[in-house]
Subunit: 378 residues, 2 copies
């Protein structure tokens, strides 16, 4: 990522919130106001599943989203990346099949692959995963260990699952003994009230005959530097995970947990999320204006409805690495599609993010990328 | 650990620093004094191996201990527990042998076992590991993947390796292709200047023909709640570890890293360590006085020279679980020896810690334990 931090290069590559958006002052003030007991607890070991106070406040936060906290077990993890790593270590042995989407979040690819998984990536369209392919895969006798999806403002594909597609997905999985990992890192960052229904987690329906592990993160609603995520899972899955969590890092950072707990309990988290939502919406609108203005018609892309990303599909057979090379020479960087392909081959796609850029940067950087596309694709 | 936190029970069970010793005010003041850029960096993702500024300041701290930072690679980990977990995941496959001490730090047992290791525990005496047994083990054709030791104020055995024993250990390992994990979590907590020479890490000698992975932690010199440790390892070992670190939690908490970096750079870490050293020394002296006064002669134990622990050896065949049961009924708790036995069998030993107790608690709790020992052992 050294290119992404070069000041002369405009980076649309990262998935990092804008540094200027973090609630630095609010957190400092909250920490200052804590009693000595809580401050000291921030320096001390905590229980492996998480500080009781945060488990309670986060549990309330998730219940208000409709999640079945009481009938499942909640664990605080060192980022949602650790939730993925723990689930993989608990259940995936070398050679086991894991179903993902294509494209797929790179952190999930690395967590599954670190356990020797064979990753089967099923394509997504603008409504969600390919149900026909999914249906074939879950009927195979050698059961996949998981289906991993990021249905809400997908990383990198940007899209939001449709309600009907989710219904079909549930129907396809029911009784098939393939647990679902539902990754909801970006769901709070919606741009329109209209999408609220589509954002309802599958876990909140808690459909019979599917073990759903719901994972989430404070990274996009407070700050990734705290390294705090969570996993809400049925008891049977949770149990095996707690042992692995203990051997992995004993407990998640108490300092971060005390801060996150205070942020929820103070009520500041709601207005904060509302404010970053608006800001990302502005950035997304600016970027989609620029794309409309500069991109050739043959490039397909999703109008952003939330989250951080826009996914560009280039004419078949294009090698986006060539576009990247040109763009870097001229001062802009993005991520090539092959990064999100578990097979590392398909490269006629690219991800650009708007989460960390000013309108000036967007209006300067997108023309550079558009020109590079025209030069390579004609 | 719920017993350990019951207010009516005096706990000598934990390995947690005293809550009242944490440098809460100093850290709050340091954080307040940081510039906006550093504060924001605390909320943001950092590079997988650690924030560059902390790698630099911690590197200096370790160089002042004589460690060969420049000819090795340094990685910040989410507690030293994660360093163990990463090393195990990088190199240990199911059925592989790993050599440890008996008794052995429980976190190491769980990290190795999570990877399917067969743990061979070699006994320690008051000078260190049994060299004859070690020599046999490293000459076996099925090479062990690691030798793991905690030579400096051992957890749980309390003792400090002798200089001669370290020399023998080095000689025994040289050219044998069994990498050494040297765990130095407690080395800063010495009680006497005289022991400084014995505290010289093996890694600082960097003996030829041995790959030494030196691991350490901020847990005992700042606070375990930050979840920050480190690993200093040769390039060849480090490389494989970085990939696993990335899949495990992407990076260690930036918030904690910014704090630790400020603590080192401000120069406050030195006087702080000196002050907790004195405090633990007082607690240790109080506990050894009480043990001398109350324990029957047939109980063997180490005079504490640093760290957190005293290890009691009871008459052969004693079941310390029976002693624990009696002691709990009467209001004191410790950890039975079998906890630290990879085979989970030998139980004629027990660990008591003084790190988290007032003199009043020690003088009330030790007589309870001594009476329970007399009742069971006669």
């Amino acid at each position: 990522m050294s290119l992404a931090s070069r000041p002369d290069i405009i980076s649309f590559a990262g998935g990092m919130p804008g540094n200027e958006l973090f609630p630095v002052e609010a957190i400092e003030e909250l920490f200052r106001g804590l009693d000595t007991r809580s401050k000291r607890a921030a320096f001390q070991y905590g229980p492996t599943p998480g500080l009781p106070s945060l488990l309670e406040s986060l549990g309330g936060f998730l219940e208000r989203k409709g999640l079945p906290v009481k009938s499942n077990r909640l664990m605080i993890t060192t980022g949602s990346q650790q939730a993925l790593s723990i689930l993989a270590r608990a259940f995936v042995d070398p050679g086991d099949r894991v179903l993902t989407e294509y494209p797929c979040f790179i952190g999930a690819i690395s967590a599954f692959r670190a356990c020797g998984a064979e990753i089967i990536a099923l394509p997504v369209d603008e409504e969600g995963i390919d149900i026909e392919r999914l249906s074939e895969e879950v009927q195979r006798p050698d059961l996949a260990k998981f289906l991993y999806i990021t249905p809400y403002f997908h990383n990198p594909a940007g899209m939001l699952y449709g309600t009907e597609r989710k219904r079909q997905l549930i129907e396809t999985l029911q009784g098939r003994d393939v647990p679902l990992i539902e990754d909801d890192a970006y769901g709070e960052l919606w741009f329109s009230e209209e999408d609220r229904e589509r954002l309802q987690p599958i876990k909140s329906i808690d459909p019979e005959g599917i073990d759903v592990c719901y994972i989430g993160s404070f990274s996009k609603i407070l700050g990734p530097g705290l390294r705090l995520g969570w996993m809400l899972a049925p008891e049977s899955i949770y149990e095996k995970c707690e042992l692995i969590k203990q051997s992995a890092d004993a407990c998640s950072p108490s300092f971060s947990q005390v801060i996150a707990d205070a942020f929820i309990r103070s009520g500041k988290i709601g207005p904060y999320i509302a404010s970053v939502r608006e800001e990302y919406k502005r950035r997304a609108a600016c970027m989609s204006d620029a794309l409309r203005r500069y991109l050739p018609d043959y490039v397909k892309w999703n109008e952003p409805r939330g989250g951080f990303y826009i996914w560009l599909t280039l004419p078949e057979g294009t090698d986006s690495a060539k576009i990247l090379k040109l763009a870097i020479e001229r001062g802009a960087v993005f991520v090539t599609g092959s990064t999100f392909d578990p097979d590392g081959t398909r490269n006629d796609t690219m991800r650009i993010s708007y989460c960390n850029n000013t309108p000036e940067e967007i209006n300067k950087g997108i023309p550079i990328i558009a020109a590079a596309i025209r030069e390579i694709c004609g």
